[in-house]
């Protein structure tokens, strides 16, 4: 089957799916589904989380192998450790400031096309992963279904990394590199906005 036909069939299937959906009339925040959706939304609807997750993917793509897969592998685990700290009631100082700083630092790393050794990059990303995990973990016990909530935010963070990596692959071309570095700069600006209290 040619690629063109495959794309056409995919588009038709998508149209069929869209035209046959019924309105979702379920409550939100209840049960397994509600908990999972809440967890899924948490990194997405939190701009500070969102830009930092994308920046991790961007930076990984910029650094190339093996960072491009080491960072998405390590981040969820360190984030889980941060969440565990919150669950155990162990405080992490200046969590919100750390999250905002993650956007600034990671954005700058991408904007300046920084290429430190892998262990340095992993260390920076791991440090900020603790802050993000702690913030997610603070909301876990109050969620409708903590298990599903945890699954939601872990998967959501991973998918945001993948989105960043996908965009970061544009660095193959000269224009793509400019676009990626520009996005890094934009992320850094968002970080400044959060640090300064403007956002």
């Amino acid at each position: 089957m040619s690629l063109r036909i495959l794309l056409q069939l995919t588009a038709i299937a998508g149209l069929i799916a869209i035209t046959n959906t019924a309105p979702a009339l379920a409550h939100t925040g209840e049960g397994v589904a509600g908990g999972f959706v809440s967890g899924l939304q948490h990194p997405i609807f939190g701009l500070d989380h969102l830009v930092a997750m994308v920046a991790v993917g961007l930076w990984g793509a910029f650094l190339g192998a093996p960072a491009i897969w080491v960072l998405p592998l390590a981040f969820p685990l360190v984030m889980a450790a941060g969440a565990a700290l919150a669950i155990f009631g162990l405080p992490v100082p200046a969590v919100e400031m750390g999250i905002a700083a993650s956007a600034l630092v990671l954005g700058l790393m991408v904007a300046m096309a920084a290429r430190p050794p892998l262990w340095v990059a992993a260390g920076i990303v791991g440090l900020f992963a603790v802050f993000h995990g702690h913030a997610h973990g603070m909301e876990l016990p109050e969620s409708a279904n903590p298990f599903a909530y945890a699954a939601g935010f872990v998967i959501s963070a991973g998918l945001l990394h993948a989105a960043g990596i996908a965009f970061g692959l544009l660095t193959g071309s000269q224009l793509g590199r400019i676009a990626v570095r520009g996005m890094g700069a934009a992320i850094a600006i968002v970080g400044v906005a959060f640090l300064s209290g403007m956002a």
Binding site: I16, L77, A80, G137, N145, F147, A148, A150, A151
Partner: protein
């Protein structure tokens, strides 16, 4: 031109509304409930995905050749045994098995084949006993239909995940499997932390 007409016909068929009649087979709802049960219980879904990743990554070696049938036999046996026993195993046990399976995939540790077989057997027993425990209060006929659905569904979902994990057409397939394993590990760690604090 013919292809375009075929595509338009498919699109037109897709615009039809679904028929909302009752199923003609009495009790079939119980079977479908059983089919979906492994996905709707978060700990079971986590365990199936983690084990599926392990089985897939070890394929076509002895670990998967023996692990898959070991899982099938153990889940079927445990479902039957659970109808009489009625007690569920502690959830942390399932999470712990998932954590072990996911860690083997993530870190790409080589292990003797009995390890994978033991994990598969333990997973099958855990899922089977805990699924049967959920059927307390059901009528006999409904229970039999449900556990049949659970057995079929559990094996199918494991096979699907394992089948996806065996793919190695592209270089990133293996990385994607390890990333998925890191997600399973992260979720497991968070849930174990939750359980240790809140019970």
């Amino acid at each position: 031109m013919i292809r375009l007409w075929v595509l338009l016909l498919i699109f037109a068929l897709g615009l039809t509304q679904p028929c909302l009649a009752h199923s003609p087979i009495k009790g079939i709802g119980s079977f479908y409930n059983g089919l979906l049960h492994p996905l709707l219980v978060p700990s079971h879904a986590l365990l199936i995905v983690s084990l599926g990743l392990l089985m897939g990554r070890r394929a076509p070696g002895r670990e998967s050749q023996l692990g898959w049938p070991a899982f099938v036999l153990s889940v079927c046996g445990a479902l039957l045994a659970g109808l009489w026993w009625g007690d569920a195993l502690p959830e942390p046990l399932l999470i712990g098995i998932a954590l072990c399976a996911a860690s083997l995939v993530l870190f790409d540790w080589s292990s003797p084949w009995p390890v994978s077989v033991i994990l598969a057997t333990a997973a099958g027993i855990s899922i089977g006993l805990n699924s049967s425990a959920d059927l307390a209060g059901h009528t006999a006929s409904r229970s039999w239909l449900t556990i049949t659905g659970i057995a079929v569904g559990t094996v199918l979902w494991l096979t699907y995940v394992g089948g996806l994990a065996t793919r190695s057409d592209r270089p990133w397939h293996g990385i994607a499997v390890r990333v998925a394993a890191s997600w399973m590990m992260a979720i497991s760690l968070i849930v174990l932390a939750l359980w240790s604090v809140h019970g």
